[in-house]
């Protein structure tokens, strides 16, 4: 896809082996992260995250819906990612479909937790309005505006920022409807409920190039990868989701080592992201 010459390839690989990458970073250093919140007024919450040449937007929309009969005490959340053709010509038409599905599935796995809700970043039972009848449906949409590698981490950060920016209108249930009737709702446009996003995990992708792993790989570095492991880790240091990309096999001991490295990296990333998000929120309020 992005054609590197043999010399360039060796330069990228050699740099990683010597812990000095093409842009001067170390193997486990992220590019500077810029967070902007409230970029889409139409949405209930939104954020834009930039990391070097990677630029993504996440928006959260809330709509009134009906809980599924299987889980009457839980709201619904869905995550979709769209890769805009403005980011790269290969995303035109159906070209982006494969990447979009891969990213959506990975984000759902990393952020929504298990079937029973364990490890979920969003507490689904907080989205319920009237049990079994009315709940909030959250639609989280990610958009890749420009791509320079490490899309998953950037999207994960953008979604975390967008969720902390999200206000869900307070709903007053007018009169308790009896039986099968849908209750009458009064949706407030002044009072908003905020999400607790401290439990939302961050996603750390370790890309394996040669014998070493790097974080926050650029597109050039990603083209040299043999495999990559995306781990989502919450503040407590527990792993909430994991996906592997790239065909090459990994030794099980390497997998465990990568998980522990990712855990270590996530601690710094969580702190940095939280301070960036609160700074962005402060700017928006001014």
């Amino acid at each position: 896809m992005n054609g590197l010459s043999l010399g360039e390839k060796l330069f990228v690989q050699g740099g990683i082996a010597q812990d000095l990458r093409s842009d001067g970073r170390k193997r486990l250093t992220y590019r500077p992260i810029y967070v902007e919140t409230g970029v889409i007024p139409q949405a209930n919450g939104s954020a834009r995250v930039r990391m070097g040449g990677t630029d993504v937007i996440a928006s959260v929309k809330a709509e009134i819906g009906r809980p599924s009969p299987l889980q009457p005490n839980k709201g619904k959340v869905s995550i979709y990612v769209d890769c805009s053709p403005t980011a790269a010509p290969v995303f035109e038409g159906r070209g982006a479909e494969e990447l979009s599905t891969e990213l959506s599935v990975a984000l759902q796995r990393c952020l929504l937790g298990g079937k029973s809700g364990a490890g979920a970043g969003i507490d689904l039972s907080s989205l319920i309005v009237v049990e079994g009848k009315v709940c909030w449906d959250l639609y989280i949409d990610g958009l890749v505006v420009s791509s320079d590698g490490n899309l998953l981490d950037a999207l994960g950060a953008a979604i975390k920022a967008a969720l902390s920016n999200t206000g869900i209108p307070r709903v007053h249930v007018a009169a308790e409807a009896s039986g099968e009737d849908q209750p009458e709702l009064d949706i407030s446009d002044e009072e908003f409920l905020q999400f607790d996003t401290s439990e939302v995990p961050v996603i750390v992708t370790l890309t394996k190039v040669g014998r070493h792993y790097i974080v926050d790989a650029t597109l050039d570095e990603e083209s040299e990868m043999s495999s990559a492991l995306s781990v989502s880790i919450n503040r407590k240091g527990l792993i909430c989701g994991l996906t592997k990309r790239g065909g090459a096999g990994l030794d099980p001991s390497v997998v465990l080592d990568m998980i522990s490295v990712a855990k270590h990296v996530s601690e710094q990333l969580t702190d940095r992201l939280d301070s960036e998000i609160s700074a962005a929120e402060a700017v928006e309020e001014e």
């Binding site: 298990g114 079937k115 998980i259 522990s260």
Partner: protein, 258 residues
């Protein structure tokens, strides 16, 4: 070659019990908790494999793990579609579909796109794509009955079908999943267990090379628990590999005799 001397093919692939015997763990203090099908927590369902299920295909395999029944056929290598660009590597095309009667609710929408991409990712690392340039191998999997752990069964069965088709592989790919139910790790879960699970971990690996080709985790896990679950899966994977190998050998010796 492991298990070459044994005359009878093993039919199950449960991992060996842990060296140190742990006290039995029970869900939420419920001492009578047993698995719905009466298995032990670390006991797998009996695995049944047959190759050559479809005549028209270059290679095919049928797998039955309890109520999970899967058929996979492999076509090719055949010429890639005209629209595809030239490639000196072969292409792998995977598709997983469910019959409308596979699930309890008819035509229940399952994410087939996701399964297809998972199957692709699990297999691509094991296939020697450079041995069939310019061409495509199609792997079509059909889940006849969904009884839990569908994807691992599909993946194992697909690698057997690829071997049956004579596609060059580094190794067979075997897949095993565990579910996390409260404090317990339950291997090879059935649908009922999957619907209550707190988390799940699936490993696909190449047992002889001892390499993980794909790994997915959902739910909340500590590192120690991941380690435990991985060991459990890897042990089961290597045993499953032996079951699959003996199935291939049986098919080969049967065709020699006739």
């Amino acid at each position: 070659m492991a298990g070459g001397a044994s005359a009878t093919a093993p039919s199950t692939y449960s991992p060996s019990p842990n060296q140190k015997k742990k006290p039995p763990l029970f869900k939420d203090g419920d001492l009578d908790w047993v698995r719905p099908d009466g298995r032990e927590f670390h006991q797998c369902r009996p695995a049944f494999f047959r190759t050559g299920a479809v005549n028209a295909a270059a290679g095919s395999a049928y797998a039955e793990f309890g109520n999970t029944k899967v058929i996979v056929s492999v076509f090719g290598p055949r010429e890639s579609k005209k629209a595809m660009m030239y490639s000196d590597m072969g292409r792998l095309n995977c598709n997983v579909s469910y019959t409308t009667f596979a699930t309890a609710v008819r035509g229940q929408v399952l994410d087939q796109k996701e399964s297809s991409s998972m199957l692709h990712k699990a297999l691509e690392g094991a296939i020697r794509l450079e041995t069939f340039p310019k061409t495509t191998v199609d792997v079509f999997a059909l889940v006849l009955e969904s009884g839990g752990s569908d994807l691992p069964v599909v993946i194992s069965c697909a690698s057997l079908a690829l071997a049956d088709a004579g596609i060059m592989l580094y190794d067979l790919v075997t897949a095993v999943s565990v579910s996390c139910l409260g404090p317990n790790l339950v291997i090879d879960p059935i649908s009922e267990e999957e619907s209550y699970q707190d988390g799940s971990l699936m490993i696909t690996c190449m047992p002889s090379r001892y390499e993980v080709t794909q790994l997915t985790i959902t739910g909340e896990w500590s590192s120690a628990r991941i380690n435990e679950a991985m060991q459990l899966c890897l042990d089961a994977c290597s045993k499953l590999g032996k079951v699959m190998r003996s199935c291939l050998k049986e098919a080969a010796s049967a065709s020699e005799e006739s």
